[in-house]
C-alpha cells in the first residue's frame, strides 16, 4: 500500500470543498473565517504534495508564504468582525447589509 501524490490531492480537494461549503452556507462570520483557514490549509497540502513529488523545495517555500498570508488575513478579518460587532451587536453576516449584498 503506497500513499502517492494522488491521495494528497484528493484529501486536499475534500478539505477545500468542506471549507468552501462553510464559506457559502454558514451565517456566523467567525465560522466563515475559520472556513477560509480550512481552504488555505488545503492549498498548503497541495503545495507540499507536489514539493515531495518533484523533489523541489519551492512548494514548501510557497507554503510558508501562504501561512504568512493566512495570518494577516485572520488578523484583518477578525478586526473587521470586532468592528462589525461594535456596530451591529451581531456576528451574523446577513445582518450586514450596507453594501446591499
Amino acid at each position: 500500500m503506497d500513499i502517492g501524490t494522488a491521495h494528497y490531492l484528493v484529501l486536499s480537494a475534500i478539505l477545500f470543498a468542506i471549507g468552501m461549503l462553510g464559506i457559502v452556507t454558514r451565517r456566523n462570520m467567525i465560522v466563515v473565517l475559520m472556513s477560509i483557514e480550512l481552504v488555505l490549509n488545503s492549498v498548503n497540502l497541495n503545495l507540499i504534495a507536489f514539493s515531495y513529488q518533484f523533489s523541489d523545495l519551492t512548494g514548501q517555500i510557497m507554503a510558508v508564504f501562504t501561512i504568512a498570508v493566512a495570518a494577516g488575513e485572520a488578523a484583518v478579518g477578525l478586526g473587521i468582525l470586532v468592528a462589525l460587532f461594535r456596530l451591529r451587536s451581531t456576528t451574523e453576516l446577513d445582518r450586514a447589509m450596507e453594501l446591499k449584498g
Binding site: 468542506i18 454558514r26 467567525i30 475559520m34 480550512l38 490549509n41 494577516g72 488575513e73 477578525l78
Partner: protein, 177 residues
C-alpha cells in the same frame, strides 16, 4: 505486526486524513463557535502531521506555531470577546445548503476522477535535491532556509511588509472611535 510495519506510513496517512476531514466537517456543522475553533485546531495539527509524512518538517512546525498557536489564540479571544450567550443562532446554515453540499460532493468526485486517472510518475525521483546544497547534505530546515534566504529573499521581505500592513490594519479596524 508485519502488516503494521509494511503499511505503517499508509495507516498514519489515513488516520490523520480522517481526523482532518472529520474535524473539518465538525467545524462547519457545530453550533457553538468555541467547539468549531477546537475542531479547527484538530484539523491544523492533523495537517501538520501530514506535512511531516511528506518530508516537510519545517512547514509542519510553522503550521503548528502559527496556526495552532497564533491564529487559534486570535480566534478564541475574538469568540470570547464577541460571542455572548444571548447570541443564539436559530439557523446556522443558509437556506440553500443542500444544493451547496451536492455541488461540493460533485466537485470532490470530479477532482478524484481527474487525479486518479492521471499518472504522476515515480514519486521523489531525485531525493538528494531536497537535502543537498552545493555538495553538502543538509536537513530539511537548513535546505528551506538556504532556499528562502537566497532565491526568495525579496518575496520574504515583501511578506514581512505585508504582515506589518496587516497588523496596522487590524489595529486601526479594531480601534475605538
Amino acid at each position: 505486526m508485519d502488516f503494521l510495519v509494511t503499511n505503517g506510513l499508509a495507516l498514519l496517512f489515513y488516520l490523520f486524513a480522517f481526523l482532518a476531514v472529520g474535524a473539518a466537517v465538525l467545524v462547519i456543522t457545530l453550533r457553538n463557535p468555541m467547539y468549531s475553533a477546537i475542531s479547527l485546531l484538530v484539523t491544523f495539527l492533523s495537517v501538520a502531521a501530514l506535512f511531516v509524512l511528506r518530508n516537510a518538517e519545517f512547514v509542519a512546525m510553522v503550521q503548528i506555531f502559527v496556526y495552532g498557536g497564533g491564529i487559534m489564540v486570535l480566534f478564541l479571544f475574538v469568540i470570547m470577546l464577541v460571542n455572548l450567550h444571548r447570541l443564539r443562532e436559530i439557523q446556522i446554515l443558509g437556506e440553500q445548503w443542500p444544493l451547496a453540499a451536492v455541488i461540493a460532493i460533485l466537485f470532490i468526485a470530479l477532482i478524484a476522477f481527474v487525479v486518479f486517472t492521471t499518472s504522476f510518475g515515480p514519486v521523489n525521483p531525485i531525493p538528494e535535491r531536497l537535502v543537498d546544497v552545493e555538495g553538502e547534505a543538509l536537513g530539511n530546515v537548513q535546505a528551506v532556509a538556504w532556499s528562502l534566504y537566497r532565491e526568495y529573499l525579496l518575496p520574504f521581505e515583501i511578506a514581512s511588509l505585508f504582515l506589518l500592513v496587516a497588523m496596522i490594519g487590524a489595529v486601526v479596524l479594531a480601534r475605538k472611535e
